[in-house]
Amino acid sequence: MNTWLLSILILSPLLGVLVLLFTPSQDEKSIKWIGVLGTLFPLGTALVTLSAFNKSGEGLQLAEKFQWVSYEVFQSNGDVSYPIFYEVGVNGLSMVLILLTTVVSVLAAIASFSIKKDWRSYFILFFLLEMGMIGVFAAQNLFLFFIFFEITLIPMFFLIGRWGYLEKEKAAYSFLIYNGVGSAILLIAFVAMFMKTGTMNFDQLAYTFSLPQSELNEMNITKNFKMGMLIALLIAFAVKLPVAPLHSWMVRVHVQAPPPIVMLHSGILLKIGAYGLIVFGAGLFPDQFESLAFIIGLFGVINLLYGAFLALTQRDLKRVLAYSSVSHMGIVLIGLAALNEAGMTGAVFQVVSHGLISALLFFLVGVLYERGGSSQLKDFGGVAKRMPIFAGVMLAGGLASLGLPGMSGFISEFMAFLGLFEKMPVLAAVGALGLILTAVYVLRAVLAITFGTEKELSNAHDLSSTERIPAFILLAAILFIGIYPAWLSDMLRPTLDSILLGLGG
């Protein structure tokens, strides 16, 4: 059973697709319930995987591998083959992210009850997206990673373009083109590495690139080649993360896409960029990464401040949150740039924590939009009176976002800055200003909605029972990580250690 567990997990969302294909397309209620049940199955499989996962074990677990495609190269001195394998496996980091994916997917599926049309196609695409996301984190070679990476792209294009708000098509195109640029650069880098080393496996690549330069020269791998590859990867994942100035598509998507999809996008998809930076950037080219650390840190600080400033001036809650995501991704960069244990831990914690927090906040935006038909700050006020539970959850989410101690956001910000202060104190001091701005814009937005003069809402009732499930689960997870971070850090420790080992301490 264990040998196929991961593949079953990756393919598990397809069960929902299969069932949906035999469901009449007008049967709204059944489709929506199948949509939710269809995400529970991957969650269950993920939990089984978690129980099979040895938390303190090092390296890759539950690995599967078989040959998939083989290219044979005719050469005068015998044929050389370039095999491509299907290889999946999990380490602590990817296990956590897979778990996050399956959890957020269930909650996004519940939030999808608000979807108004074409439910069947919607959920089919939703499941494909989930499959892609799980696959990205489970993939153990570049080829597979790229395939799943692209699989997330196509359903997103449809989901934004068909079910989004007014300017949905523009947002879908801008998503497609920006991410297309990213994956184009990624593909060239991947193929170049494959042709130089003859392997696509992460561990083998890391091993090859860590060989002494004299041996690498025999393979025609120069320092410049490594640097070139790293820069290509940084650009590709900077689009995904997104790093300013490559962020405009992301704001558009956050504003135009339907709320459940934004939950997935901001909760999971943005994390692929961070995951890529950690696994491919720092993991494969530690030396080169170190020499670029200052620039990465600088971009981190720019992201943090730029996002926060813009979030401060927005009038639309969705845009506030979108820029807040830009800002929070800066913290991931800051943590990575520190290149020490505290910084790395902070970066990874931020990945998970922001996944939960932004999923929660965008879920609430969806609720708000349903009540008031708008997400403009000026249209809301005094919501706390009519919808006390909603207001409470929103305030809690906001506090988590600004990094209140006892919540997940605090741990990640604290660790990331702790790491950076050790290495680049000036940069860290400048960046710390961003934390103050964060407090200002979060409180401004949340308080404007929940308190103040009461505005008329067309449909003001508090969170319904189906809406409470995602809200409470997310909030509980945020608090759990905030109060008991050791659970998460134990899972991540072996992975972080191995990356730090590559970084030389």
Binding site: S70, Y82, I147, I151, R162, L176, V191
Partner: protein, 510 residues
């Protein structure tokens, strides 16, 4: 040559060609005696059966060793077998596609269409098997002349007339250029046999004439790129594709293009592999920048111009130009993966393009318009057309889990690997692929994001079969490309391509 000599050739290796020739002749005779108003549909089935039979005989020939007959002008090697499979498969799908063509004009001329198609196919097959400039040229002309007529088959349609006229004029010029180049090759080496040319090209005496060799290469290459619609000889494609009946367009964009690559590989690789360029460097390395620029220009022109097309057939014409640019990339990079990359990409291209043309035909013939608007809201109206079309378009754009992605991935491997990495060519390919996203995804957006009250599109049985087959192939080759690659490696030996063998002639003692 007496009768004995003639009979001593192993004619059996030409069985597939004979089948096609026989069926074509049979069709023309039957057509002649058929009543004018009776349906020509049975002819389609007969032609299809003939092609299927020829396809089967190719598979039966797979274990035959390299055989060469007619004084080494016709050879059966793994190269010809591998590419003939593509040619036959493509034409077979085109036949099914055409059997449901509804235009009255074509109805009138139907019979002609089928045997012209077979004649064109025969020409293409001859090209795949020829080992001599003369047979190559004859094959090329047979294919071209039949194509010219087919393009103008809708006699009462002005656009179709224009298309045929443009095609024949520009095709004639290309033929002249090709022939001019070939005359230099002959003049330099005194041979028409490809392998003897290759032998003589390595001759030291020729070093003095390296400039002429260079010239011969450029001219021949330029002439031959006409068939694959590479820049700058691509101008005919949009007009011809737009004016010709859809099945003919599909044939031109798939089968004729495949044949173009076949002849390019045969002539250029074999003739010039040992030839010296200026300053004694191998010419194939020396001309690389030129061919590279050509490939890049083809990708850029094709993709960028496609952006502005509202006419779906013209858009696919430019898309087809762009795809030719991609396939030129392994050609440029002199990769050792050359044959499998081109073969696989052409195989993938066959399924995705014929699939797409099937949908285009159904829609344009129902709506009577070639505007891209015919796709409006297709997903609501006919999901069974919209979903396959989505897969074809995704495959053309090179998105994973489709055959097109594997094809492009392979081309990247060829460009970035082994001897010398062609980073900038790969970058051009990637950048233009991104450009292509815009117009390919535009089709998807129109099908899925716009609503329309248009009528449902009915799909005749034959077309449904083509669609199902092409969709399945695009996806299966995308997920399990080894099915095709293993077949290729198992039956293809690159050495055979370069192997010269003596003609088996058993002359009697007198």
């Amino acid at each position: 040559m007496d009768l004995d000599t003639l009979l001593s050739f192993r004619w059996s290796v030409m069985t597939p060609e004979f089948i096609i020739l026989g069926v074509a002749t049979l069709l023309s005779v039957i057509d002649l005696f058929m009543k004018k108003e009776s349906s020509r549909k049975p002819l389609a089935w007969l032609a299809g059966a003939g092609i299927l039979a020829a396809l089967i005989t190719i598979f039966m020939q797979l274990d035959i060793e390299v055989t060469s007959i007619l004084y080494d002008t016709y050879r059966l090697d793994s190269f010809s077998k591998a590419f003939k499979i593509l040619l036959l498969l493509g034409t077979l799908l085109v036949i099914v596609l055409s059997s449901n063509y509804k235009k009255e004009d074509l109805e009138e001329n139907r019979g002609e269409f089928y045997y012209l198609l077979l004649a064109a196919l025969l020409g293409a097959m001859m090209m795949a098997s020829s080992a001599d400039l003369i047979t190559l040229f004859v094959g090329l002309e047979l294919l071209s002349l039949s194509s010219y007529v087919m393009a103008g088959l809708e006699r009462r349609n002005k656009r179709s007339n224009e298309s045929a006229f443009k095609y024949i004029v520009s095709g004639g010029i290309a033929t002249a250029i090709t022939l001019f180049g070939m005359s230099y090759i002959f003049g330099l080496t005194g041979e028409t046999n490809l392998f003897k040319i290759a032998e003589n090209m390595g001759n030291l005496e020729l070093l003095e004439h390296s400039f002429l060799i260079f010239f011969a290469f450029i001219i021949t290459f330029a002439g031959l790129t006409f068939k694959i619609a590479a820049a700058p000889l691509h101008m005919w494609a949009p007009d011809v594709y737009e004016g010709a009946p859809v099945p003919v367009t599909a044939f031109l964009s798939v089968v004729s293009k495949t044949a173009g690559f076949v002849i390019l590989l045969r002539v250029i690789i074999i003739c010039f592999i040992a030839a010296p360029g200026i300053d004694k460097e191998p010419i194939l390395l020396q001309v690389q920048p030129y061919v590279m620029a050509l490939a890049a220009a083809t990708m850029i022109i094709g993709n960028v111009t496609a952006l502005r097309q509202r006419n779906i057939k013209r858009m696919f014409a430019y898309s087809s130009i762009a795809q030719a640019g991609y396939i030129l990339v392994p050609f440029v990079s002199n990769s050792s993966l050359l044959f499998e990359l081109i073969w696989f990409y052409l195989l993938a291209y066959l399924f995705m393009n014929i699939g797409a043309f099937t949908v285009i035909q159904l829609l344009t013939s129902q709506e009577g318009s070639n505007d891209i608007g015919v796709f409006r809201g297709l997903f609501r109206r006919s999901p069974w057309l919209a979903v396959p079309m989505t897969f074809f378009v995704l495959s053309l754009a090179g998105i994973p889990i489709t055959a097109g992605f594997i094809g492009k991935f392979g081309i990247f491997m060829g460009a970035l690997g082994l001897e010398q990495a062609q980073y900038w060519l790969a970058a051009v390919m990637m950048a233009t692929t991104l450009v292509s996203y815009v117009y390919y995804f535009n089709i998807i957006a129109i099908m899925f994001f716009r609503d329309s009250e248009g009528p449902k599109v009915s799909i005749p049985g034959g077309m449904a079969a083509v669609l199902a087959f092409c969709t399945a192939s695009v996806l299966i080759l995308g997920v399990m490309p080894d099915l095709a690659l293993d077949f290729f490696y198992g039956n293809f030996d690159v050495n055979e391509f370069f192997m010269q063998i003596e003609t088996e002639v058993h002359t009697h003692d007198h």
